[in-house]
């Protein structure tokens, strides 16, 4: 049977394999939302957490750059929008999350494949993946060398190296994430996984949003 993990559950899985994820916690009421926001340090992102909602922002389930003093009101606002848009969805609460750091946005994904086991995908995020399909694939498992090849193989690689004054991305950290994802494929019975975006600055790479479908 397949099971869809929420963003928060997926990130816990990623963290288990040493992948850096955003600081976050689920608030079950507005008081908690304020407390978590204050603890993480604001502004924060607030996202609806429900196993039944995959396109969170389409339903008004996401607010960005929320300051601590607005956390309570935002909590209630998101909840009331979701109750209208998806009255039957099971709600776990609202994920209060560190705002994404600035850096290069990338996508890392896994797909179970009937012929070869698992395919691992890497590409630059946003329009690069959606329009240009500028991605590379490998069958897992892979090591660091292949991960580096995967990264340097995409057309947008010069962007990651830093062009026109943009800061370069920490390629080594990205490669480490690819190897970790390759490692978890089989162990976690993953059917499909997206880390989208993975954001890399000059030092480190962090999973900002992620979703997974696993085999139970």
């Amino acid at each position: 049977m397949s099971l869809i993990l929420t963003e928060h559950e997926t990130k816990k899985l990623l963290a288990k394999y040493g992948i850096a994820v955003t600081k976050e916690s689920i608030a079950e009421n507005s008081e908690e939302a304020f407390a978590i926001a204050s603890q993480i340090g604001t502004p924060v992102a607030m996202k609806i957490s429900s196993p039944d909602i995959s396109h969170k922002s389409d339903l008004g389930g996401v607010e960005l750059n929320v300051v601590a003093s607005d956390a309570k009101a935002t909590y209630e606002a998101i909840l009331s929008r979701i109750k209208k848009a998806a009255p039957d969805a099971r709600i776990e609460g609202i994920l209060v999350q560190q705002m994404a750091p600035s850096g290069h946005e990338m996508i890392v994904g896994l797909k179970k494949d009937a012929q070869f086991g698992y395919a691992l995908m890497f590409g630059l995020g946003g329009i690069f993946v959606e329009v240009y399909k500028d991605v590379s694939f490998r069958v897992v498992p892979i090591g660091m060398k292949e991960a580096m090849d995967m990264i340097s193989q995409i057309k947008g690689y010069p962007i990651l190296k830093g062009i026109r004054g943009r800061k370069p991305a920490d390629i080594n950290a990205i490669a480490t994430v690819l190897v970790s994802v390759s490692e978890m494929a089989q162990k976690e019975n993953i059917i499909e996984l997206d880390i989208n975006p993975l954001i890399a600055g000059e030092d480190g790479a962090i999973a900002v949003d992620a979703r997974a479908m696993i085999e139970r």
């Binding site: 869809i4 494949d113 009937a114 070869f116 499909e192």
Partner: protein
């Protein structure tokens, strides 16, 4: 053992016929045309088939039978194979169709067939195959009527009719084949078994494959990674997208074709797009050493052709390398003043044995050059023979790959024949020549990056 299929000491043809237009007649005729072992027709309705005593059943043959080939209807197959098992037959080539390719009931019959084959420890090619050819063994156990000359390229094809077409086409090309294997439904022997067998087959130098789908994908990759012989694959189904976006971005982008390409690259398998490219590359492998690197020099008597070649080099990731001053001086000494001694070298229309000999010598001795493409463009004023003689003579003493492209068709035939006699395949246009060279370079890369010396993985049943 697959050797019972490819090198049998005796063959029974079940469903043998006197009618050479029927498969059972065609196949026995083809076997008899070259095979030197014992052949036993099996057909209860005939006393004699094509001059040989015919037996009612394989069990009635008073001698050992190593390989049985069946050309009988599907409903008779289980009994026939059971008899083969009892007889102690080791290998089967099942031409019979009407199995998993036809639907559910056929698939069930195929399962029963495979369990019989395994019960008796036999190996089977097929069902639904057009047969196999093993040229060094003079065995044509297929419905291919006319064979190309013997060579070192072995071709595995999932499409039987493509196998037929290729055989005819390679005759035209003057290409030599070693084995032709029509896999049919791959119910028992599959791609994994076959590439392993060909890896150990001393007469196979290059493995060429036409694939629609693979049964044991991971094992196929692991096996291919351990094979140093070039494996060139044309895999169809590029146009098919993966499933629709059901859940993830990755799922929507990762179509099966993208995954195939990645997997093949990781296993050091050369994937090409067209049938031309399969055999252009295969031909280069059988005749040429691998280059050390991707630095290419081009020699031509026509500027246009050499620019086309240089452009294709760029697309294929080959480097048009700077020549040393010494090389350029040597070339300058033999070409007209107005011609170009820099790479690509252009003799500006002048052709002679001396010009080609001295230029080729200089280029091949240049330490910067890993491989050479020699182009000759035919004109009314030039003769295709002297440059061909020049390239053949030097080629014999040189360990760098030299790819020839004699353009112009009519008028170049004698030159092309000279090239062929020196094991220099001719490519009719520069793009084909460059792609063939690129295949050599890619394989050299694969040997360094993808291939491994680890022992072969365990081989569980399909």
């Amino acid at each position: 053992m697959l050797s019972s299929i490819f090198e049998p000491s005796s063959i029974a043809v079940i469903g043998a016929s006197n009618n050479e237009l029927k498969w059972g007649g065609m196949i026995i005729k083809n076997i008899l045309s070259g095979y030197r072992g014992a052949v036993y027709p099996v057909n209860p309705k005939e006393k004699e088939v094509q001059g040989l005593v015919s037996y009612p059943s394989v069990l009635d043959i008073p001698y050992d039978v190593e390989l049985a080939i069946t050309a009988i209807p599907a409903q008779l197959i289980l009994q026939a194979v059971e008899n083969c098992g009892k007889k102690g037959v080791k290998g089967l080539v099942v031409l019979t169709a009407g199995f998993s390719e036809t639907g559910k009931s056929g698939a069930k019959l195929e399962k029963q067939l495979v369990s019989l084959v395994r019960k008796y420890g036999m190996r089977m090619i097929g069902p639904n195959t057009l047969g196999i050819v093993n040229e060094p063994f003079n065995l044509n156990a297929s419905v291919i009527g006319k064979l190309p000359r013997p060579g070192h390229i072995s071709f595995i094809t999932q499409s039987g009719t493509l196998g037929l077409a290729i055989a005819d086409w390679t005759i035209d090309m003057g290409l030599g084949l070693c084995k032709i294997i029509s896999t049919g439904n791959k119910a028992d022997t599959d791609d994994v078994d076959l590439i392993k067998y060909l890896d150990n087959d001393p007469s196979t130098g290059v493995i060429a494959m036409y694939i629609e789908g693979i049964n044991r994908g991971k094992l196929f990759l692991e096996t291919a990674r351990r094979i140093q012989k070039p494996i060139i694959v044309i895999k169809t189904g590029r146009s098919k997208r993966g499933q629709k976006a059901v859940f993830s971005h990755t799922g929507s982008i990762a179509g099966s074709d993208e995954i195939y390409s990645a997997a093949f690259k990781q296993a050091g398998i050369l994937r090409v797009d067209t049938i031309d490219e399969v055999f252009d590359a295969a031909l280069a492998f059988t005749c040429q050493p691998l280059p050390r690197g991707n630095n290419v020099a081009i020699l031509s008597n026509g500027g246009g052709a050499s620019i086309v070649a240089a452009d294709e080099c760029e697309r294929q990731g080959l480097n048009i390398v700077d020549l040393t001053q010494e090389t350029r001086d040597k070339i300058k000494a033999v070409i007209p003043e107005y011609a170009s001694s820099s790479n690509p070298v252009d003799t500006a229309g002048t052709v002679s044995f001396k010009i080609y000999t001295e230029s080729i010598k200089a280029l091949l001795r240049d330490p910067n050059v890993d491989a050479l493409i020699v182009i000759y463009v035919h004109t009314q004023l030039s003769n295709a023979i002297p440059p061909a003689e020049a390239v053949v003579e030097i080629k014999l003493k040189c360990d760098k790959p030299v790819i020839a492209c004699w353009m112009g068709g009519a008028g170049t035939e004698q030159g092309v024949d000279i090239l062929k006699s020196g094991c220099l395949p001719n490519y009719s246009v520069p793009e084909r020549a460059v792609k063939a060279l690129a295949a050599l370079v890619k394989h050299r890369d694969f040997l360094n990056t993808a291939k491994t010396d680890d022992p072969m993985p365990e081989n569980p049943e399909a």
